[in-house]
């Protein structure tokens, strides 16, 4: 369709970091300080504002305040995750939460302190900040590293692996510029995957014009999951989806209102229902869904009557993290002191920083493919990471990569050619099939919504529906291979849909495999509505000879874990 002549550029580096978000930037800073040779950070947008931190964040959600120890955080995450978490990963992350927080402050992050100079916490795990400029601060840290080179606006699509020294190893990755007709073939000794989680799989709350007004970054499309899976890496716990409770329409956070001004969840009759269902995140959403189902909706956070000072503070707090909500309050002429804030559950996401989905890694954050590491929302087993946990994992992965590169007797990867150009060029050569990437994305979201437990079914699914979802997603996977592109921007979107479809396939298999309901809302298995002891295991998956294989792995207890054969 498009008249685009591609040109291939080959780069050799020691370490390749894919994704310059929270975890990727922090790993780049630590690797830069460690002198391990050349480090290349590749980002699909620009590291200055890319990823989850683009809009700024409200608080640091993972911190260990005085009187608590890292083990407390492990226990909190284990309880919240109904036991399906990795103790080794949670502990090694928790031990670093405070030190990365202090480092952020040194880099210029504003953190609220009391008269004694101690951080002011909300609960025992939350630090109050002004998080509006957190990403530019990290980007400046990367730019100050002389050995780190940054390649912005380049989208990575596939990993390359090869038998080296009798084992299958990662030897690089390929991608393309989202603007110019350049293909990048990057050869590396070690690769860190830091592409974040996956949004846009399900039909979103606002399916029309404001389709990208969603909670998680719509530009994190699950690329890392997809490339890792295709390359043979093992994945874990995808079925532990994440759903957030948000302000209606603007999808702005609700915690700031609930905890900030103590607003209770009430139904249309003004009855407080949070006391009936509980106040963990899934319980808050479950209560809201149930009240709506019973015909008691809409549901609200009851802010009516808060003081004008509290209202002013809320207007400002939202400008720092979800400005749409402030605009909505002002535009409608009704602030939170005048009326309650309507709430809803979002569509499901696959996010390893909130729940436990992602790459199956060892304690060093190495995946099951030697030389390939993972950190942040793309890495599984360790929920409740948030910003500081992503930084901690970036740092752990960086240290592990340094050790890996210095291992004695490790053979270097010989130069290779990946010949990727053809795979991209076929989309420019494709005849207009009548199906654009936009059509296919919409079709995928509809399938997932209706058949794989989206908003339409109150997050419920069963085997019959999932079987249909599987068949339909497969059909869309065939169509996306033939989707036509007019320019590099189209090609980006085609690959984003391709990645999402792969993530949907993995997710469906995981939902089918866990024959129980462990995490209300995150997964409502209508065939098996109760929790079962038989499923006190990890559900893992990997691609073997083109087929998705499910592996049941026993829970990992203790402080370290090395990869074991299935």
């Amino acid at each position: 369709m498009g008249d685009v002549k591609l040109v291939t550029k080959t780069i050799r580096t020691d370490v390749l970091i894919i994704g310059g978000g929270t975890a990727g930037c922090y790993a780049a800073i630590r690797l830069g300080e460690a002198s391990v040779g050349r480090i290349l950070l590749v980002e699909k947008a620009n590291i200055r504002r890319s990823g989850c931190l683009a809009a700024g964040v409200n608080a640091l959600n993972a911190y260990i305040s005085k009187g608590h120890v890292p083990r407390d955080y492990v226990e909190y995450a284990r309880t919240d995750g109904e036991g399906i978490v990795r103790e080794d990963l949670l502990l090694t992350m928790s031990e670093r939460l405070n030190h990365v927080t202090e480092d952020l402050e040194k880099r210029g992050l504003v953190i609220l302190k009391d008269e004694k100079g101690e951080y002011v916490t909300r609960g025992w795990r939350n630090v109050k900040i002004n998080g509006e400029n957190i990403k530019p601060l990290l980007a400046e840290g990367v730019e100050a590293q002389k050995k780190v080179e940054v390649l912005n606006h380049v989208n990575i699509t596939d990993l390359k692996t090869k038998e080296v020294d009798g084992e299958k190893r990662v030897i690089g990755a390929v991608g393309f510029s989202v603007r110019e007709p350049y293909v990048y073939e990057i050869q590396a000794e070690a690769v860190l995957m830091a592409t974040g989680g996956a949004a846009g799989l399900y039909r979103p709350n606002n399916p029309g014009f404001s389709r990208h007004k969603m909670w998680y970054s719509p530009f994190n499309t699950g690329a890392g999951f997809a490339m890792g899976f295709e390359a043979g890496a093992e994945m874990t716990t995808f079925e532990n989806r994440f759903v957030a409770l948000r302000c209606k329409d603007t999808i702005a956070p609700t915690g700031t209102i609930a905890q900030g001004v103590g607003a209770k969840q009430v139904n249309a009759r003004g009855e407080v229902y949070e006391t009936t269902y509980g106040i963990t995140t899934p319980q808050r959403i479950y209560g809201t869904v149930e009240e709506n189902r019973k015909g008691n909706g809409p549901c609200y956070l009851d802010t009516k009557g808060i003081t004008k000072t509290a209202e002013e503070d809320l207007l400002k707090a939202y400008l720092n993290m979800a400005p749409a909500q402030t605009l909505k309050w002002i535009e409608s002429g009704k602030g939170p002191s005048d009326e309650g804030v309507e709430i809803e559950g979002t569509e499901p996401y696959v996010v390893g920083g909130h729940t436990a989905s992602g790459f199956w890694v060892d304690t060093n954050r190495m995946t099951t493919i030697p030389g390939l590491f993972a950190a942040g929302d793309v890495a599984g087993g360790s929920p409740q990471k948030y910003v500081t946990g992503a930084l901690a994992e970036g740092e752990i992965a960086a240290e592990s990569i340094v050790r890996y590169l210095r291992e004695k007797g490790r053979k270097k990867v010989a130069a290779d050619f990946f010949s990727q150009e053809k795979a991209y060029a076929r989309h420019f050569a494709a005849e207009d099939s009548g199906y654009t990437w936009q059509d296919l994305e919409e079709a995928m979201q509809k399938v997932m919504d209706e058949y794989a437990g989206g908003i339409a079914t109150d997050y419920r699914y069963n085997e019959s529906r999932l079987a249909l979802a599987k068949e339909k997603i497969r059909g869309l996977q065939e169509l996306i291979r033939e989707a036509p592109a007019g320019d590099m921007f189209d090609l980006l979107h085609i690959y984003e849909v391709r990645e999402r479809l792969t993530v949907c396939r993995i997710l469906i298999e995981h939902l089918l495999a866990r024959k129980e309901t462990r995490w209300h809302i995150f997964g409502e298995n209508a065939d098996h509505p109760k929790k079962s002891e038989e499923f006190e295991i990890y559900v893992n998956s990997r691609l073997e000879k083109g087929k998705i294989q499910i592996l049941r792995r026993p829970l990992v207890k203790g402080e370290s874990y090395e990869h074991q054969d299935p």
Partner: protein, 103 residues
């Protein structure tokens, strides 16, 4: 929800184009333009990067938008968020970036 760029004030410096986490802004005839308005996440990165306040943020009608637009005027540590109401009234909320959130 999305953004619009005020052609008269845009100086074509390209900062918003660099910053958008979705690569959504392009340069046309020396002025910035949003390529796919429906794909905007509403993160306000482009508003914060623009040196002349040429980017305006608005809510889609499907989110309750009724014609107001919001832009940022920067003054040292302060962001003056200006909300232009449809009937011409302007409301300003000033946020000092050195102050932490109270909530």
């Amino acid at each position: 929800m999305s953004i619009r760029i005020h052609k008269e004030s845009c100086i074509g410096c390209g900062r918003c184009i660099e910053a958008c986490p979705g690569n959504l802004i392009g340069l046309m005839e020396g002025k910035a333009k949003i390529l796919i308005p429906e794909d905007c996440w509403g993160c306000t990165s482009c508003l914060k990067e623009c040196p002349v306040g040429a980017v305006a943020y608005y809510l889609g009608a499907d989110m309750g938008g009724r014609g107001a637009v919001m832009s940022i005027e920067k003054e040292k540590e302060i962001y003056h968020w200006k909300i232009h109401m449809p009937k011409g009234e302007i409301k300003v909320i000033s946020v000092n970036r050195k102050n932490a959130n109270q909530y």
